[in-house]
Symmetry: C2
Subunit: 262 residues, 2 copies
């Protein structure tokens, strides 16, 4: 099966059957993939408010009813307990398990948040002829903690995480235009140029993912990143949390083009 051309339901069905355990990058190309954070209901209001106050790094695509593993808006036939290839289980901020099925850990008081992912805007940039360095070089996107504080909400607080793509200035301008069309999936960059201006001391040492080459004449372009809510949730050390494993995303039934306003 060509996973890039497969339907989200087909790929989720392979994952659910335990026949697919690898990063989802490039699968079901036209469809939006999502980060997941699952928290006890007692933290759900604070976390939802945090995402509301930090819409750029934390673009919510769906929130389940407490106890339900079904993301009714973005994939009504999916089951979030089984349909992600790899999960991480955290207790009091410590990673205690990495598993391929979350059902044994699911509880009746859990609320799952699905958050937009930058895969959604990389496709339109590539279609517009822009080079995405980490895709060209086949490595994970570099991500950095910044000195930009998120707006706190209840118990949640922490720094914004950004992803970085090196570009020629003319391409950076085009990238601003393209990603501006996707305000519900991180939107336009939050910074172009000097990494130190946003608290990044060494551009060659990302906090997550892998470094990208920045060629002569290129500038680093920074977008708010969907890793922010995980980093923030970990800073707060909730009693219990389930997330996807980085790179092993949930594949929704929503087309990336549906998340674009133009």
């Amino acid at each position: 099966m060509d996973l890039a051309k497969a339907s989200p339901a087909e790929v989720r069905s392979l994952i659910r059957a335990g026949e697919l355990d690898k990063p989802t990058s490039g699968m079901c190309a036209p469809y939006a993939q999502a980060n997941m954070a699952v928290l006890p209901k007692e933290l759900a209001f604070d976390f939802l408010l945090f995402t509301q106050r930090n819409k750029v790094p934390c673009p919510v695509l769906d929130v389940t009813e407490a106890g339900s593993p079904v993301p009714k808006l973005v994939a009504p036939k999916a089951d979030l307990r089984h349909d992600i290839p790899r999960y991480r289980i955290y207790r009091h901020g410590e990673l205690t398990d990495e598993v391929t099925d979350a059902a044994p850990f699911w509880r009746d008081d859990l609320v799952a948040f699905l958050l937009g992912c930058s895969f959604s805007f990389e496709g339109p940039m590539i279609e517009a002829g822009l080079e995405i360095r980490h895709i060209t070089d086949n490595h994970n996107v570099p991500m950095y903690k910044t000195n930009i504080e998120c707006v706190p909400a209840g118990v949640f607080h922490g720094p914004m995480v950004v992803s970085m793509r090196p570009m020629k200035p003319a391409d950076a301008i085009r990238a601003v235009q393209i990603t501006t069309r996707m305000p519900f999936v991180h939107g336009a960059p939050i910074h172009i140029g000097d990494p130190e201006a946003i608290g990044i001391s060494d551009i060659d040492k990302p906090d997550f993912g892998e470094r990208s080459d920045i060629k002569p004449g290129e500038v680093p372009v920074f977008w708010a990143c969907g890793v922010t809510p995980q980093a923030v949730a970990m800073a707060v050390k909730p009693e219990f949390m389930i997330t996807h494993a980085p790179g092993y995303m949930f594949i929704t039934d929503v087309l990336n083009s549906q998340l674009s306003i133009m």
Copy 2:
């Protein structure tokens, strides 16, 4: 004082002193005004989730901490108990009081939601040379309940309310472009043309506000409306709710231009 040119702080101070009790349309022209819905904390998660699932009619600008009357993000020196000219108090879905100060009714368990208002996109349309009929004719905008169901969340459910502005087709196209730039304040229209297609049987009898003349060659253009959350909340008959009185809005410190992505 020229209220159109006054600062939000100046106008809120007049309101707080009891010296200004009229609709806020046109006041502090460059600044965004907001609808308000105040609900007990026990309903806050469901209502926040409802706004999240219905971002087009319910664009959240700020949510207060439980018990706090201070909208820290959009007007950190304001007090929502005093700074709106006129409030409505509802008990179990019944309007029981209309008052100019909400302090006697405020409770420690209340959470205030401020929601974007179409005033924010009327300015840019007028600047672009479009006629806004209800402004030309100096009456309230016509608003209608539709047959478009909002996505339910917890206890909240109900129909989308829309506002209508008649326009020549070329102006309607321009209006789509202009309001697309404001995805966090209702964004693009949700319908153009036949009112019956969205469940409006008589365009001359709006459910809220006043009728607008539709001239030969014009089409009705419909935007999702910030009255939706009030209509929905009333359908649900919460034990207690405070809202602004229609037309008597909260004036924020946020520029309308800050709510535009281009």
